[in-house]
Subunit: 244 residues, 2 copies
DNA sequence: CGTGCGGTTGATCCCTTTCAAGGATTGTGG
DNA sequence: CCACAATCCTTGAAAGGGATCAACCGCACG
């Protein structure tokens, strides 16, 4: 269920107010941002930015999921980042990006023109700080993913993916059930994220289902039946290795 | 050939003066840093920091190569970053790191105690800016590596690795020959970086050698015989996709 | 009621891993 | 200076996990 978002939404009531790039801002700073922002929406599957494009705007993801991906000459593609609500697109001091950004689900972005935003970053330490934190969080996530891509088995990849998704989603939206959640990605997109083929993704999902670790009603609605078993299947050590 | 470095080396003469965290500093700022810095050296193979350690110092790599790595419960390990001269260890606002840092070769670090350094970062926009740039560079590198780990074949991985290494090394040190360079890592370390086994690394190296793409005299000294063929073997498109 | 898209399942193949043995190089101590 | 050990590297044979190729299912939608 999506909340209708328009340019009229006030920052103070924004669902990502406390985690996005504006998290540290006081009221004055917030009203500066409020004066600059515009909302853009994208339908599932739509491209948001192409590799090599001039970066005319930067943005926070307000609703939905977007993906960063890279493609080899022969068409093999690999997702190199998943943007959930509060994640940031674009970077100060870079006029271009080196990957494609695509809407995975319907997406709402809170956009700022790049040039004025960069000026604001220079004048507003709170924003600069938060931007740095977000970049470092992304770096941590990227490194976890490198371990997954380089060394984990298909089964471990799937288990890790589900676990990550549950963790990030649970706090984001009020999930319907205890460990139930909605999977907004197709098997093919998941495969591109995990460095697998869609067939392998399907097989591993069904294998975890047969073992009673997860179950799903609709093909897009999962329930984690046995959280401990799921964690066990990730290959990670006890504390999960994830920083909260 | 290593230059002897002691605490007495002046920043103005430092080999990484123009690329490290201090790159943007003016003379005043530089003398502040100069007053804080101490050199530490580590022998090849020595641990520099362990995962979960309290981060008491941050540092720039002055000489040598260090590696960031993560390990699964059962011992599988994956390098998640390679630190060459001018790269930075540690991050503002984080008291801990989530990976091990190990000296791959003999390493010289230019260290700063974390707390005072963080204060300096807050007061010195030039340093904060540069730190942000370095973080974003690392993020770009991490994403290139995710594509490699997730989608490239063993052959492509090796070719990409050599290419990356030649590119970064050539500007760093004046290489002996045109495309000759010194490989400071063992087959095992390379395997951990590329998500392969050491046997596969060995086989692919020798395969590229048989094809006349590279040659090596000493097992640690490579020459790229056919740069175009090497690039062709990376799977990347024409311009290489690497940002300089 | 067909068509298309996403998903499942099966059979086969192949690249990389695994297991194993031997070769090369370096360093150390007698 | 040589013997020996420790590392690092190479090479071969076999096994296996995931990819590939292919057929089919089920649901949404026109």
């Amino acid at each position: 269920m999506q909340i209708a978002l328009t340019a009229a939404v006030r920052c103070a009531e924004c669902p990502i107010r406390h985690r996005a790039v504006c998290a540290r801002c006081d009221d004055d700073e917030l009203s500066l941002l409020e004066g600059m922002k515009t909302y853009k929406t994208f339908k599932a599957g739509q491209p948001i930015l192409w590799r090599g494009d001039d970066l005319v705007f930067v943005a926070s993801v307000v609703q939905g999921v977007a993906a960063l991906s890279k493609t080899l000459e022969d068409g093999r593609t690999q997702m190199v980042g998943l943007l959930l609500p509060s994640d940031f697109i674009g970077r100060p001091g870079r006029g271009q990006i080196d990957f494609d950004v695509t809407a995975t689900t319907d997406v709402t972005l809170c956009c700022f023109d790049r040039k004025p935003f960069e000026k604001l970053v220079d004048d507003t330490p709170h924003v600069a700080h938060r931007l740095m934190e977000l970049a470092l969080d992304e770096l941590d996530a990227a490194r976890d993913w490198m371990l997954l891509l380089g060394r984990k088995t298909a089964r471990e990849k799937i288990a890790t993916f589900i676990q990550m998704f549950v963790r990030r989603t649970h706090t984001d939206e009020q999930a319907a059930g205890p460990d139930q959640f909605n999977m907004p990605m197709t098997r093919d997109q998941i495969a591109n994220y995990l460095g697998l083929t869609l067939e392998t993704v399907s097989r591993q999902f069904n294998s975890l289902k047969k073992e009673g670790v997860i179950s799903f009603g609709d093909r897009k609605t999962f329930t984690v039946v046995d959280m401990a078993a799921l964690h066990n299947a990730t290959g990670d050590d006890a504390d999960g290795g994830m920083i909260d």
